[in-house]
Amino acid sequence: MIPRIYVPADSGALALGAEKVAKAIEKELKERGVEAKIVRNGSRGAYFLEPMVEVATAEGRVAYGPVKPSDVKSLFDSGFLKGGHHKRWLGSPDKIPFFAKQTRLTFARCGIIDPLSLDSYKSHGGLNGLQNAVAMAPADIVKQVTESGLRGRGGAGFPTGIKWKTVLDTAGEQKYIVCNADEGDSATFADRMIMEGDPFVLIEGMAIAGIATGATKGFVYIRSEYPHAVATMNKAVAIARKAGVLGVNVLGSPNAFDMEIRVGAGAYVCGEETSLLNSLEGKRGVVRAKPPLPAIQGLFGKPTVINNVISLASVPVIMDKGAAYYKDFGMGRSRGTIPIQIAGNVKHGGLFETAFGLTLGEIVDDIGGGTSTGRPVKAVQVGGPLGAYFPRALFDTPFDYEEFAKRDGLIGHAGITVFDDTADMLKQARFAMEFCAIESCGKCTPCRIGSTRGVEVLDKVAAGIEAEKNLALVTDLCNTMKFGSLCALGGFTPYPVMSSITHFPEDFKPAPARVAAE
C-alpha cells in the first residue's frame, strides 16, 4: 500500500499555510521519487497545531504540527512517512490531550476522513443512520429525535424533534428542509468545519429530516464569507446524487429527497431564520413576525423545517446509535454533546466537542490554556456578538442552556471569545450597539433606532458627559430593545451591553476617574 499523507484543506488550516505545505510535500515526493497519496482532509480542530500533517503508518496515524513549508525537507529526512521523530512530531492524534479529552459524536469523522470520499464516509459509520431511517415510519424517526433531547444548536435551543413533529403534522403538497449555514457569530466555526471536513454528515442529516417530515427538497444557505465550504458542499451534493443518497429513491427506498446549495450575500441578520427564508425567496433579508411559525408557513409559505448545521449533522449519529445513546451525554435539559469553539485571545484555540456540563473556567483555563498573550483573562464572551461577557467571577457556570440563562447569558452557537486584561469593556459594549446598527434589517424600531441611539449614548459615557444619567438611559434602552425587538438581533444586543456594565463597572466610570484608576 502506498503511504498516505493527510494535509488539511480546512479554511483555518489554509489560513495558516496548509496549501504551501501541501505543495512542498508534493515537490519533495517528486524530487525524491517517493510515491505517496496526499489526502486533503478537514481539520480535527486544534488550530494551535495547524497545519497539522498526519501520516498513516502500520501503528496508526502519526501527527506533526504546526508544520511550516520549511519543515518539509527535514520531515522527509527524519523518515516521517514511517512516523519518524522530528521537532514537530506530536505522536498519535488520539493521544494529544486536546483530542483525548473530547467526546466526538457529531465531529467523529471530521479531520479524519477524506471529506469527498463517500467510501471513506461509509467505512467510518456514515449512512448507517439514513439506512435505519428509510426503513422506519416518519413518526418513529421524529420520536427518536425527540427522545434524544437534541435542541437547536444555532442558539435558540428549541427541541429539534418538536419542530419536526409540527412539520410532519402539517399537511402540504410541498415541504422543505432548510439548513441554516449562515454562521455569522464571531467565535463560531463549527458549521464551517463540518461542511469542509465531513459534508456528507450534513447531507445525511437533511435526508433523514426530509423522510421524517415528508419534505422532498432541501436548501443549505451558506454565508458568502465561506467560499471553501460552499465549494465542498456543492461537490458533495453532486457525489451524493450520483450515488443515490439523494434523488427520487434515497438509498433505493421510495423516499425522494434532493437539495441545493445557496449562497448568502453578507447580511448577518440572515442567520435569523425568517430573514433567511426571505433571502432564499429572493427578497430583502427582513425578519418576519411570528406566528405563523416557519414549520407551518415557511419557505414560499410551505411547511418548513429550518435547523442549524450542527443540529442536522447530529441526527445521523442519533439514528445510528439510538436516542438513549445520545441522551446519555449531558446534564439537565441539555442533552448530548456540544462543539464548543474556543477563540480569540487563547493559547489552545479550536473546536472541542464534549458533553454539556463543563464549567466555563475548565473550558477557558484548562482546555484553552489561558490567553495567548500570557496576560490574565479579563472577560469571556459566550455566544457570539449577541452573547454576554462573563467575568472570572462567573467561571463556575456550567456549559448548559439553562445555567447560562440563569446568569443573564446564553450559550448561543457555543462560541467563546477570550479577552485579556487590556480589553476595554465600554468599547466592547459600544461595538455591540454599533454592530447591531450596521446589521439591523430595519423592520422594527427598537433595533433600527435603538442601536444607533445606543452608540451615541455610550459615546457620551466615554466622554464623561453625565455618565450616571446616561448609563441609566442605556439600561432603559436595553430594556426596550430586549422586549420590543422582533428577533434576536435587537433582542439580544442588550446581553453584551448590560453584562459589560454589570460585571465591569470600573470601565464605565467617567474618563478622569478611569485614567486615575489605571
Partner: protein, 159 residues
C-alpha cells in the same frame, strides 16, 4: 464603446444569465451573484432587465440589491482585501491591524485606492476565530496577521 452600446451589452449578458437561472426556486440571489461575477459589480443597467425577467418592479430589485453588503454598485479594485473586525479578532488586535493597513494603503474602509489596485473592506467574521486576526485577500484566507504578513499583503496588492 459608446454608452448606449455598453448598456446594450450589459442587458444582453444579463438576459442570458436570467434565462439560465430563472427556473430556480427563488432565483434572484443566485442571479445577482452571477451578474456580479460576470461584471465585477451589479450594473445599474442590469436592474430593469432583471425586473422584466422575473416579473418584479424595479423598486423591488433595487431594494434587494441595496440590502445586501456583498453587491457592489461599482467595480472594486483589482484586489479586494477584507479585514475581520469582529470580536474574536478584536481580542487579538484587529483594530491596530486595520489602522496599519489603512495607513500603508492610504485608504479607509469601503474605499478603493486611486490607482485602482485595491479595495479595502471590513468583514464581520470569516470563521477563522481561532487564528485571529484574520483577513481575506481575493478569496484566499489569511490567519494570525502580524506585521510581516501585513507587509506581504500590501506588497502583493501594490505589485
Amino acid at each position: 464603446m459608446t454608452m448606449q452600446a455598453a448598456s446594450t451589452e450589459i442587458a444582453s449578458r444579463t438576459a442570458a444569465i436570467i434565462d439560465e437561472m430563472k427556473g430556480l426556486e427563488g432565483p434572484l440571489l443566485p442571479i445577482l451573484h452571477s451578474i456580479q461575477e460576470e461584471f465585477g459589480h451589479v450594473p445599474k443597467d442590469a436592474l430593469p432587465v432583471i425586473a422584466d425577467g422575473l416579473n418584479l418592479s424595479r423598486a423591488e430589485v433595487h431594494g434587494v440589491v441595496s440590502f445586501y453588503h456583498d453587491f457592489r454598485a461599482k467595480p472594486a479594485g483589482r484586489h479586494v482585501l477584507k479585514l475581520c473586525q469582529a470580536e474574536a479578532c478584536q481580542s487579538m488586535g484587529s483594530e491596530a491591524v486595520a489602522a496599519k493597513v489603512k495607513q500603508l494603503l492610504g485608504i479607509d474602509f469601503h474605499e478603493t485606492a486611486r490607482d485602482g489596485s485595491v479595495t479595502l473592506e471590513p468583514v464581520y467574521c470569516l470563521g477563522l476565530c481561532a487564528c485571529s486576526p484574520s483577513a481575506m485577500l481575493d478569496g484566499e484566507v489569511i490567519g494570525r496577521l502580524d506585521d510581516e504578513k501585513i507587509e506581504e499583503i500590501v506588497a502583493e496588492v501594490r505589485s
